[in-house]
Symmetry: C2
Subunit: 248 residues, 2 copies
């Protein structure tokens, strides 16, 4: 019943909904948009979320200033969102893994305020925003969940403000690693043994530190026996002590 009416970027590879690519069958239900919906409600969301979009490594899902028409949920892969400044510098506002929602910053002005770039070959579910809003009016629990997701983003950003405003480099990196650890854990991956998808430079742009400081702090953490890090592979050796470093 759902034709491809939705505004879609023709330059991007888009696949229509496939069997097995439905919310009701998706392993990310518990993390993603349909969280807490009944079977019937989920089917209605399924009608909405009928498109996938791929982005190869380094490719952008959308750019800052693009017309906002959809939010995206990460099906697989890894994204960063970053804001470009006039002087050529840029900073990273977030990293997103499977089940997480990208693009809500665009709602307020009708244009995305940042660009979403894939850190590895990735795929997202396209959630057309107009239709989502319509459905949210009818499905109360969906509306509530959308509000919770947006509010969660606000709280997340505010804890980032704490980090950037008052933490040392060590505290920042520890907080960053523990946050990744929890999110991998929630997805059934090892919380102590994982691959960093981002470069040191990207970590730095996210944490408000220079690449050299990131590198030195990794080295220090290793010397102190807190972790092992080899290239992009990380093994957390002393989570309690890492937690103690940031004491919250």
């Amino acid at each position: 019943m759902h034709t491809n009416l939705d505004n879609q970027n023709p330059s991007q590879q888009v696949t229509p909904g496939l069997l097995g690519a439905r919310c009701r069958d998706c392993s990310l239900q518990e993390l993603c948009l349909p969280l807490g919906l009944s079977q019937e409600e989920m089917e209605r969301v399924d009608e909405l979320v009928s498109q996938r979009k791929r982005a190869g490594r380094g490719e952008a899902l959308y750019h800052s200033e693009d017309l906002f028409d959809a939010i995206y949920s990460v099906r697989h892969g890894f994204f960063r969102t970053d804001v470009l400044l006039e002087d050529g510098h840029s900073y990273i506002t977030g990293f997103y893994m499977t089940g997480e929602i990208i693009g809500m910053d665009g709602i307020s002005t009708g244009k995305y305020s940042c660009s979403a770039v894939a850190l590895e070959d990735s795929e997202v579910c396209v959630i057309p925003y107009q239709r989502l809003e319509t459905l949210a009016c009818e499905v109360r629990s969906l509306q509530q969940h959308i509000h919770r997701i947006m509010s969660r983003e606000i709280v997340r950003d505010q804890s980032m403000m704490l980090l950037l405003g008052s933490m040392s480099s060590g505290e920042r990196l520890a907080a960053f690693l523990l946050n990744l650890s929890e999110r991998f854990d929630a997805r059934g991956h090892s919380p102590v043994n994982f691959h960093l998808r981002m470069t040191r430079e990207e970590i730095g742009r996210y944490l408000g530190l220079k690449i050299e400081t990131i590198s030195r702090t990794f080295t220090r953490f290793q010397e102190e026996g807190l972790m092992e890090v080899r290239h992009k592979h990380v093994r957390l050796l002393d989570v309690p002590r890492l937690r103690h470093l940031i004491r919250q």
Copy 2:
């Protein structure tokens, strides 16, 4: 028709809806929740927003961890929201003036994640959240506006992340002053001549700087002819150059 059924904090002074205290008569319409609503829709919001709540200087509207049940729109006065840390320190996540909405951080977990403290004797409109959600299901433009307000908060927090992550003390203070200036301007006050409601220490906790740094930066700005500051009174003398300082 609106009785005082809403969950309200009995320790706070609450006044029922008064003639002249309705959204449809309120001078803040253009800034506040009812923005963009039709006359009829506004009347429905009015039924919802029937309570006011006062908070004297230094008093909290709510505390971190309190049960979330309402968001608030500032009728008059000035608020800050802050997060207390275990070690006794705290940081400020935002300042709020008339027409601005406080408390959306509570939606995600059902508890407020910060405390809202009045910087001067203030009054807010109480917007019971359950009922707002119900009404938003029926009034599409209200739902859209709520989403825009939340998204705006996300964008605002992200520009704060830029400030905290990559700006010098001078850039931070200039950005802070210009932001206040714009908000006063939008409310019909002078954009170059205004009173700071907050202490230097509070500015510091907001900008991620120590009070001494705030003070020194004010002094420097004065020496450079950018502004005059005497106690809490500020006069911006060279807005273009202040803007140039932050170059966006």
